[in-house]
Symmetry: C2
Subunit: 193 residues, 2 copies
């Protein structure tokens, strides 16, 4: 969705190949090195001159967004798909754990979710709003079903998610297991205590 060069002629074959390669390399670089990686470095790893990469992506941010936004949108899509699931509690916790699991292996994705460093995923952005709304809907249904504590707000869950990402990512980096997500999910449940 959103092929914004629909009126333009299709890319030349070699340009298309190169564009694909840049995306591939950028994806790997971002996953392993995070958002601090330089544009020049990505061009170098891909084996292109910087001019070539800039031809395809007008800005450093544009390249990063082309790589990262798709993944974010998939999280949103997952949440929406689960919004009508039978078991709201199961849907909420399952989604939460999936996001932590999938994002924690990707350095740049974690940083994007944690801080406000990517312009396209900031407070007030459409994507950020969609993410929050989708999360909020899952949360609300789970709360109505009595599976999640009623005093939790959407922002609270977002912050808990960020915390889980930090913990799981570090644990993964040293080859250990922390299961921060499990502990936090337990904490979010309605406790009968």
């Amino acid at each position: 969705m959103g092929d914004d060069h629909s009126t333009a002629r299709p890319l030349r074959a070699d340009a298309r190949r190169n564009r694909e390669r840049v995306l591939q390399i950028a994806q790997e670089a971002l996953a392993s090195d995070g958002l601090t990686i330089s544009f020049d470095e990505i061009a170098r790893r891909a084996g292109f001159g910087v001019g070539t990469v800039y031809r395809h992506f007008p800005t450093r941010e544009a390249l990063f967004e082309a790589v990262l936004l798709g993944r974010m949108e998939r999280f949103v899509a997952d949440a929406r798909a689960l919004a009508t699931a039978e078991d709201p509690g199961r849907a909420f916790f399952g989604w939460f754990r999936t996001v932590v699991e999938q994002a924690s292996v990707n350095q740049a994705l974690c940083e994007m979710l944690e801080g406000g460093t990517v312009p396209a995923f900031r407070r007030g952005t459409t994507l950020e709003a969609d993410f929050a709304a989708a999360l909020g809907r899952l949360l609300q249904r789970a709360q109505r079903a009595g599976a999640v504590r009623g005093d939790l707000r959407t922002e609270d869950v977002q912050d808990l998610l960020r915390g889980c990402l930090t913990a799981e990512r570090r644990a993964r980096a040293r080859g250990g297991k922390v299961a921060m997500a499990e502990v936090v999910c337990d904490g979010m449940r309605s406790h009968p205590r």
Copy 2:
């Protein structure tokens, strides 16, 4: 401990004042802006030329360490002081919560604890080893007393701490309350379930 200019003559009065002011400004800048702040920017905020600041601190890292290491050492000292407390569980959880509470208001302190970006607090450093050792001792005592799950290792607790820092810091930034530390502490307790 470690006043390495004991043989040198004392600083001139104006130099001493300026040094103090630099530390003060750097402390504020690091707390609010984190480790990415530039040396030039700190000099500018303090109202000095960069040469003046470099006279007192030979390197950017040296300045940062002068500001941050004291706080870290206090956490270690706190842990050591609690190592002989009556109630090991109470000591462990109290220390954990204190660290989260005090560090989460300081951007640079969080980043230092989370990543390995400050040379003086890396794997293999004395300070990092002291921190881990002090934490480990608190943990072990709490586990022997049956207050904390036995399968938790020191590194696990460190990662959980990092996660709490991320969550609490973000919550604090938006004026909300998350109590991530509470949830995680609950999760670390031996559950009778």
